[in-house]
Amino acid sequence: MDALALQREGEDWRLCLSGDWSLRGMAQIDGELRALPGPESGTLICDWSHAERPGIGPVWALLGRLADLGGSRLHVRHEGGPPHTLQLLQKLNLDRQAILSAPPGAAPPLPSALGKLGRWAVLQGDEARGVLGFFGRIATVLGQTFSRPRALRIPSLARHVYETGVTAIPIVSLIAFLISVVVAYLGAQQLTRFGADIFVVDLVTIGVLREMGVLLTAIIVAGRSGSAFAAEIGVMQLNEETDALRAMGMNPIELLVVPRILALAIALPLLTVIADAMGLAGGGLLASLQLHIPPEQFMARLREALSPTTFWAGLVKAPVFALLIGMVGAYRGMQVRESARELGRLTTMAVVQAIFLVILADALFAVLFVQIDF
């Protein structure tokens, strides 16, 4: 059924409105209004007697179309019980131009390539300065702990060691165990061809202790705790909790950031030791099941394969990774301003950057260890 019907009535025009004039019929009404050919002058009678449940939106659209059609030359009269909102809308319709003039969210000018480069450079400069400042503030707080041990916040530190370390033990153990089983299995398949089964032990022990144990742990912790740091601190920023702390003369870096980073620096090496142990256990299990190397022989070979530094070459990286993860997470959390969307964006960024930095640092360590023959 049509929502509009235009008829000639003597000198005048009669516009019969019928059907559903609530928001539900808006699409149809809008379409028919746009197709309405005229009139552009004279008298138009709007007959409301067949319009059901006329809503604000459709009436607004009708008034707008009538104003577009004739402007002041078209005299409009409403009959047949027009909706009670008509008066209000007619009044608003007088200012229609102003009301609809809303700038569509002031689009920024399209940046040229040079502009983009400049903006990117400035942004990176700001970012570098921000990171440096953040690092400095953390260092200041750490420096104060020598003269003022209370600044270390032992209870908070303990809670974060528990949350980032102890609760991560099951997942870290499981993943280290499974990955080293997979590595040992793949290695065994290749090495049996040369009859060099026993070198699976070398592969697993050196691989796990030097690289995989610490790297896997760091990546898991970056996903678990890096995101948690960013989200926790970010929500506190949104709730103005950090502002409240500052207003009470307390330093949010000291209260929120340093305990988290230190806790991670304690927890990550310990987790790495557990991951190393579980990785060796996984390799040993596969060796005995698949290659029939008994545990005694595995241990004997393990002692031969390892140089004294192998274990430490892995472990020494853990605190560095912990600092990277903790600082990126806390820094991104402190950057949250204004909205929930920011929180999600910065938490994601914290995890991605933490993992990237961990892998980059790992590569640098590899080069360094080769150079110093560690």
């Binding site: 808006m26 699409a27 809008d30 209000l88 009301i99 809303a102």
Partner: protein, 258 residues
């Protein structure tokens, strides 16, 4: 549904409990067609719990809640949807979606429930922005860029976008300066008169209560005492006496009498 004699909302024998803590204990409430009904109560008296129950966001432990004569607990899923579209709500802190501009916030329910061309959506958003007395340029702004008073108005614009006949306001003037709060009261009265709305308003703002509400329900001891403004003023319950005749109340009354 539009029978004027029929109360819009009827709550009977409502019981709400959180563990051992009883918030409502046999609460009765009737909201009539086309009135502004104010809900008052101390902190923790269960005003917001009552609102959530009437909105169907929370199931009561006992009692019935009827909106437009329909029992909320017996609604099917499509009926629940239709019910949700028939009322507008503003929440205490505005609850505008922070990643959308004001215009997009207003269009959000429209896009969800109706299909209409983009231009019609823009015109409707502009209309709603004008209805609540915001300037046209507010439409393109994001919630974080708005002042407290503008957030409340934008939230009202979103609540009005589906053209409801029933409007719930949770502390609409809290956190506003007296001038903005008074302006909001006037806006509410204006929209109430022009759009024939039934309004249920939770408020702590005595000025607002005295200026806008026809009837007032006070939640005390888990029940509701409902009366007209004059009736409530004469009530002898100690909490109500304290509330409406304390030092702050006297100032508000004097101001209202002018």
């Amino acid at each position: 549904m539009d029978d004027p004699a029929q109360p819009v909302i009827r709550v009977h024998g409502l019981v709400s409990r959180f563990g051992a803590q009883v918030v409502h204990n046999g609460l009765d409430l009737e909201v009539r067609q086309n009135e502004i009904f104010g809900i008052v109560g101390g902190s923790g008296a269960g005003k917001s719990v009552l609102l959530h129950t009437i909105l169907g966001l929370r199931r009561p432990q006992a009692g019935t809640v009827q909106v437009y004569g329909k029992n909320l607990q017996e609604l099917t899923r499509p009926e629940q949807l239709a019910m949700a579209q028939s009322y507008g709500v503003t929440f205490q802190s505005g609850a505008l979606i922070s990643s959308l501009s004001v215009a997009q916030n207003i269009q959000l329910p429209l896009r969800e429930y109706y299909s209409m061309p983009e231009q019609a959506l823009d015109e409707l958003a502009a209309l709603n922005v004008a209805l609540v007395g915001l300037t046209p340029d507010a439409a393109g702004k994001y919630p974080a860029q708005l002042s407290g008073g503008m957030v409340k108005r934008a939230a009202l614009a979103r609540a009005l976008s589906l053209e409801p006949k029933l409007l719930f306001l949770d502390e609409p003037t809290s956190g506003l300066d007296p001038i903005s709060a008074a302006a909001f009261d006037e806006l509410l009265l204006y929209l109430h008169a022009e759009l024939h709305l039934t309004v249920v308003m939770i408020t702590h703002d005595l000025d607002s209560l005295l200026r806008t509400c026809n009837r007032i329900g006070v939640i005390v001891d888990g029940r509701m005492i409902t009366d007209t403004l004059e009736g409530i003023m004469q009530n002898q319950h100690p909490w109500i006496r304290e509330y409406f005749h304390g030092p702050r109340a006297r100032a508000a009354e004097n101001a209202a009498r002018g």
